[in-house]
Amino acid sequence: MKEIITLLIPRYLSFKNGSLSLNGKNRRLRLLLFATLILLFWAGVFIVFRRILIYFSGIDEFGNILAHKLLSMVITTFFALLTFSGIVASLSKLYLSRDLGLVHSLPVRSGGIFMARWIESTIDSSWMTLFFSIPVFLSYGMVYKAGPFYYLTAALMMVSLCLTASAVSVFLVLISAFILPAGKIRSLFVFLGLIFVVALIVAFRLMRPERLVNPESFTSLLLYLKEMGTAGSPFVPATWAFDSLSSALADLKTEAFFHLSLCWSFTGALYFIVNWTAKLFYFSGYTNAQTASAWPLTHTMGVSVGSRQFSGMVGRPAKGLAAKEVRTFFRDQTQWSQLFLIAALIVIYLYNFSVLPVDQAKVGTVYLQNIFSFLNMGLAAFVLTAIAARFVYPAVSCEGNAFWIIRAAPVTLKKFLWVKFFLYYVPLLFLTELLVVSSNILLQVKPFMMVLSIVTIFFMTPGIIAMGIGLGAAYPDFNSENPSQAVTSFGGFLFMLVSAGFIALVIILEAGPVYQFFMAEIQGRRLSNLQTAWSIVSFVIVSLICTLAVILPMRFGERQL
């Protein structure tokens, strides 16, 4: 036990000293902003859940069933999230961390190292879900006026769920690392990404959530209620967790205790199974992971774009930087799983539009279609922000310790940043336009809305990309083992906040003129002079904001880097 604690001390000290390395004022400011953002989000989750539950409690007959269905979905989602992040965290902690060489050279049992790493990965993968689960359970407790027994059950249930998810992930990682050939451990990310995406799409398609808000699509109320009340599989830990919590909510102490015991006994059993598996497989799996694949590359991936025409157009240094960027991106298999996730996001996004019941609405279909299309611009820009947070914001940090090469080369940082900008701008513009155009086609919007969406996205995309590159350059982390996680840093949060503000501003500025235009068209009249002037001024301000959104962050990033 002592050796496990000793092995965990460096992590604790690094955390403690890491915050000391920032100067006092900066540190306080960052902490304050960070805490405010987290608290706002936390409060937002609480308010939304409380409102939903109050709304449900007002519905006779099946309001209670809806609330329980929601709770079941939340717990299943938590379990899925915990398992997936557990896999990523344990893979990194057990096999890929830089300090593993040092740790394995110490006179410590391999079992001790495994246990210390497992504890670390459990904490890393669980704390956020645990923290954001509090407002959800709190809102249930308050709406259902539950007593202390419910809160105690919720706490014990969540801890058990975290430990179980972590044990399941570690078990899968241990087996995979042992089976995979040497040097292929990173391929696990690709494999996992693919599995996750397929599971997500299949689950989403099977659930057909749009039916739940439209009871008329069921042949009878009975069928609908049956669908809502269907229990989860009795072999899944998330079902036991849900059962214990729903029993505690109804103050059924014996049932709650029984289901909670199921959760904890399974956690305990897993603890022994994982330890036993680790004894058998961990060290040989670790040895496998240390061997880099030594096959020569027989083909040049991607940029034989290195053709003369291309370099003639953009200059040799820019061409070199672009080629390097594309090659390193596509050869890093950890990025591939992210690409799969984006593919899943797009499929679900478009699927949502294809099943929107606009034709069943009581308000005019044309009106609703165009409202959706207008909001869709903002939604697509938010999707772009999420993608940019994963790929564009960490682009500078991805240079890692090799950044000295750029600093020592006769290339300006401005050029370096602009190359990064254009490399992400072109594909992401294409992607976002594709989203907007496809969803508009599905909504069958008017040509005006189609043109407005295309043009607005065309002007917003550079701003969002520039914010990602600029703020990523202003707050780089060249020492990170996984730069794509930089989005959870202060700069990452700042990027998402600024980007969301920018999107909201553009949408608000455009909303007025677009509304006037539609009302005029519906009423068959022309815009008044005042309305025309208002529209022109709004669009001029939007263009100005979009231009500044490109120039200012890029300059800021260049100056700070």
């Binding site: 100067n23 880099a292 694949s293 030594a294 096959w295 020569p296 590359l297 027989t298 040049t300 290195g306 003369r308 370099s311 040799r316 240094p317 061409k319 070199g320 930087l321 080629a323 390097k324 090659r327 390193t328 050869r331 890093d332 890692g400 310790n401 090799a402 000295w404 090469i405 750029i406 600093r407 020592a408 080369a409 006769p410 290339v411 300006t412």
Partner: protein
């Protein structure tokens, strides 16, 4: 060729380099030695344009690196002490990338890269990802990349770390040949025997200040030693060494 004028670098309250003045002429192989934390790497990184100076200036072949960083950097080949590279590129791709950054023509870049890979015994590994290279191979690849654009000045921090004896001899010969052909080599090292063996002049830096400068014989005089090698001179000067030149 290289001129440091009152070069100063502060990290917060810590004075890493303290008003350093130095001139290194064309074709000179200059050794820069000092204890750990003396300010060697900081000075080298400022000369390579990676770090900005707090005060003072650096002139590279008459060009102020702070005013015209790209022009100055184009004349320099920098070899850092630790071989951090783009692990997902192959050796050949990395050299071509460096060629692109330094504006070497396509034809020259390829021919020169092949020549250097052969010279540094990396030719058979040219299509392998750098992540599969050993430490010594990465170090050789960095040295090769620094020579790709035929620099007039080479700034090198601990060149022999990670190299095997054959590699050390090869690098020593290359540096000597380059200096004979008019290239300035500015080398920081802890391996005093190499500095003594290779360098025309040696500067000893301690607590950010230059405490001794000259050929090995001159340094012995500064240290008031009649006999003894550079190691003894170094230890004597850095033990007492508060005074600056």
């Amino acid at each position: 060729m290289i001129e440091l004028i009152n070069l100063t670098k502060r990290y917060g309250r810590v004075l890493a380099v303290d008003h350093l003045n130095l001139k290194v002429e064309k074709g000179e192989l200059f050794g820069f030695i000092g204890p750990n934390g003396a300010g060697k790497t900081t000075t080298l990184r400022m000369m390579a344009g990676i770090l900005g100076a707090t005060e003072g200036s650096i002139s590279i072949a008459g060009i102020d690196i702070a005013k015209y960083p790209e022009r100055a950097k184009g004349m320099i080949g920098f070899i850092p002490d630790r071989p951090f590279l783009y692990e997902k590129l192959t050796g050949m791709e990395f050299l071509r990338f460096i060629g692109d950054l330094y504006g070497v023509t396509e034809e020259d870049s390829h021919a020169r890269a092949e020549e250097l890979l052969q010279r540094f015994s990396l030719y058979n590994w040219e299509d392998h990802l750098i992540e599969s290279y050993s430490h010594g191979m990465k170090q050789r690849l960095i040295i090769a990349s620094a020579l790709l654009h035929d620099p007039e000045i080479i700034i090198v921090d601990e060149p022999m770390v990670g190299l095997d004896p054959a590699g050390i001899r090869m690098v020593k010969n290359i540096f000597r040949d380059l200096a004979n052909n008019g290239v300035v080599i500015f080398m920081s090292t802890h391996t005093l025997a190499i500095a003594e063996d290779l360098c025309d002049r040696i500067g000893i830096i301690h607590k950010g200040r230059m405490i001794a400068l000259g050929a090995t014989g001159d340094l012995k005089g500064t240290a008031c030693l009649i006999d003894g090698d550079l190691e003894e001179v170094f230890l004597r000067l850095t033990e007492k060494g508060e005074g600056a030149l």
